[in-house]
């Protein structure tokens, strides 16, 4: 990593990791479950993270591992929660708006491919005494301190806000109180709502507890 004369092992590792990143990225769209799609994407990101370590970006590469691990877990769980696909094991199509997506994909491939082939990249070998972690820290907490800190504060405020809004014991009482599940048919009775105990319902042996 001191200069440009890296070994053959680095080239082989790069090719294998790049293939892994592309193949798992493709699998994200071909699989049939949101949990699988999230974790295929995670594998793709991890492969990119290892490539970043090969490029001497040792902090950013390793940071990719833990950030994406937590991010993809949370994403998978939230998708399962919101998409009404119990546990994400049921088969489900992972693509939508296919025509636009194909167009955007082809255009993106052409533009990026043209850039890779036609652009002239700077040839700056990594200096021998480079300390990647220290220089990154100086960049983030030096010149870019204001941006970095304001982004951090906004994220923290958002997180606290989400926790307060989604907390079971909310500011205005229990979160579940007064909420009504939607009906099974349009305009129908709320699904799973306990029946009222009314006189005249002969032969009905269910007893619901009212609090």
């Amino acid at each position: 990593m001191e200069s440009m004369n890296h070994g053959l092992g680095v080239d082989i590792a790069f090719l294998l990791l790049a293939t892994l990143a592309v193949v798992t990225g493709w699998r994200v769209f071909r699989t049939d479950s949101m949990v699988r799609a999230s974790f295929f994407l995670l594998v793709s990101f991890i492969a990119v993270g290892v490539i970043m370590i090969l490029l001497a970006a040792e902090y950013l590469g390793v940071a990719m591992f833990f950030m994406m691990a937590v991010e993809m877990t949370v994403m998978a769980l939230f998708m399962v929660m919101f998409m009404m696909n119990p546990a994400g094991l049921n088969p489900m199509n992972m693509v939508h708006q296919e025509r636009i997506a194909i167009g955007a994909g082809v255009a993106g491939f052409l533009i990026l491919g043209a850039m890779a082939l036609l652009a002239t990249f700077p040839d700056q070998p990594v200096p021998a005494g480079l300390e990647p972690v220290r220089s990154l820290g100086n960049e983030m907490l030096g010149e870019s301190m204001l941006i970095f800190e304001s982004a951090g504060l906004v994220l923290l405020t958002t997180m606290i806000g989400v926790v307060v809004l989604s907390s079971h014991r909310g500011r205005y009482g229990a979160a579940a109180e007064g909420s009504m599940p939607p009906g099974l048919e349009p305009g129908g009775d709320p699904a799973g709502k306990p029946e009222e105990d009314e006189a005249g319902e002969g032969g009905h042996h269910h007893h619901h507890h009212h609090h």
Binding site: A63, F65, F66, L77, V133
Partner: protein, 307 residues
Amino acid sequence: MFSELFLPVLMVIFMLVVGGYAVAVLDRLVASALGVPQAGGIWLAPMARGAWLLTQHANATEAPDWRAWRLAPALYLALAAGGLAVVPWSASLVATDLVTSVVLWGSVEALATVVIFLHGWSANSLLALIGGYRYVALGLSYILISMFVLIGVALPAESLQFTQVVASQEGLWNVIRQPLGLPLFLIVGLGMTFWGPLNLADSTDLAGGTASEISGPPRLVWDMARAAMLVAFSGVAATAFLGGWLGPWLPGPLWISLKMLAVLSVLLLLGRLLPRLAPERCVTLMWVVLLPLSFIDLVWAGIGALL
């Protein structure tokens, strides 16, 4: 070539095998010292159980995600190997002396959440799934506590490298310099290996949780991986708080082995002595008590580094 490529791999594999066996033996020693009757000899029983599991049939559930289900135990073992690879045995004997090895250990903890969740999810079975969800809900708080505590040990070292963290403890070990650090970190260790009081992912109230449906060789790999993760964790704890290879008279690798054995014994003893927490209470304990304590630890470490 040999010392660069094969020696680190051999070191890690040796530690995976010997460490896993040591955990099984130590746990039985601790149990028999506490008066729990043990079937079979303490030294041979782990091997007998391993051989028995190898010959058993691997259970199948209805429509599992086969690849994830079979890969998850192996991946957990691989994460333990990644953790062991960053533990320095002496100033020069380290499998991987990455400049961001503290962060790499943080990613091992984060990726463990993914693997444990996958293990529970892919079995396509109710209790295993609940175990997986439970771990995700709790794992997030373990990761946060661990992160603050580890930033605390990185501060006096002014580095994210475990060898530097050890070197910074030449005068005073972090266990004394940051008194809150090691107790908090031990709780993280019990949590991320879901051992003893924090075994909520594979607990008996879920009939085994994420491991409720596995038997035979996958079961053996899963059990070995949990033991190996405990060993990797004790290596990181000994490095971050107990001065790693530092110590008089004995050579460095022997010192860290002794310290790792001490951490392991404490964890296994806690695992046998403490009752299992209720998951809801555990979440409250983590976020309301332990996370603020880890903030205090970090502020303490920061003030200490400034003075």
